[in-house]
């Protein structure tokens, strides 16, 4: 199996996607060997339940394999996977009544990643540090920064994924940066940065 992977070395995602569309199982394997971990990481930012997130990835893989003969070409395999995965995860969370009848925006305000983190985190000091972070960045700001600088999506792709316009994405990034720096006194700057690190641990 690992030897088979060698044959995909230096081959772009998009070419591998074309082989997958021809029904090549090894190409399908390669796509998820490249992206499984990234998708899992993204999912866990929404909801810290690895079992549920991996269920959604399983559903994603089943769907992608089933659609191999009908799926279109894509300019960004990563974007296609993240978008489809996000859709599946949100549907699953709705089914589980996590989102109930609320809109996604409501959900982002109320069931944020930090909320989950705080709920599970018992260490009082760390809790306070994350609370500081909470007051600085909105869930949407965090998601946009994460998609931009960890998943390396373009502002246009983020806009499509979140169903907002590209300018809004740029504004969100801009405001997040400003908050990070401006609302934190210089002397507390390192502490603040430390809380960001703790939050994403």
């Amino acid at each position: 199996m690992l030897t088979l992977r060698e044959s995909f070395r230096n081959i772009t995602d998009e070419i591998i996607w074309e082989r997958y569309r021809e029904g090549n199982e090894a190409a399908f394997n390669e796509i998820f060997l490249r992206y499984y971990q990234r998708i899992l990481h993204y999912g866990l930012k929404f909801w810290p339940d690895q079992l549920l997130v991996e269920d959604c990835i399983q559903e994603l893989m089943i769907r992608i394999w089933q659609k191999r003969n009908v799926v279109n070409r894509t300019e960004s395999v990563k974007f296609y996977l993240l978008k489809t995965f996000r859709h599946i995860l949100f549907r699953k969370l709705k089914q589980n009544r996590v989102f109930s009848e609320k809109t996604e925006e409501d959900r982002l305000q109320e069931v944020s990643v930090e909320d989950q983190f705080i709920r599970e985190e018992t260490h009082e000091v760390l809790k306070n540090k994350v609370k500081v972070l909470l007051s600085q960045l909105t869930p949407r700001q965090q998601e946009v920064l994460y998609l931009r600088f960890y998943q390396n999506l373009s502002p246009g792709e983020i806009a499509e994924l979140l169903q907002i316009n590209t300018q809004s994405v740029c504004n969100i990034i801009h405001r997040a940066f400003q908050k990070i720096r401006e609302t934190t006194p210089i002397s507390n700057h390192n502490n603040f940065i430390f809380s960001i690190i703790q939050f994403f641990l």
Partner: protein
């Protein structure tokens, strides 16, 4: 933080080589970044923020092996085939019903 600093922060975080270095995968670039910030406190501060942000995103990545992922992929393919077989059986059943109905109508 001034406008040009925000732009610099965005550029740094978007740069793949910066990201590699920020998460500790390219220590050979240490002298380059040291030089880049020398005599420029603003750059130094922006670099510090950018590095910590990059690092914060990088940490928390679940460690899973290729073998584990292979297992998950095989499970998905196997399930997809099962669904496909179920669909085929359903189609056959529905065709059979149609044939029976057609035959009955001829009687």
């Amino acid at each position: 933080m001034a406008q040009q600093h925000l732009k610099l922060l965005d550029e740094l975080l978007s740069h793949p080589r910066f990201q590699e270095w920020a998460v500790g995968n390219a220590p050979e670039l240490d002298p380059y970044w040291e030089n880049w910030t020398r005599h420029d406190p603003d750059r130094k501060e922006v670099l510090l923020i950018a590095r910590r942000i990059a690092l914060s995103f990088h940490t928390g990545v679940p460690t899973i092996s290729n073998e584990y992922v292979y297992g998950k992929i095989n499970q998905a393919i196997s399930t997809a085939h099962t669904y496909q077989e179920d669909d085929t059986v359903d189609v056959k059943r529905s065709n059979q019903s149609f044939i029976f109905a057609a035959a009955a109508s001829l009687l």
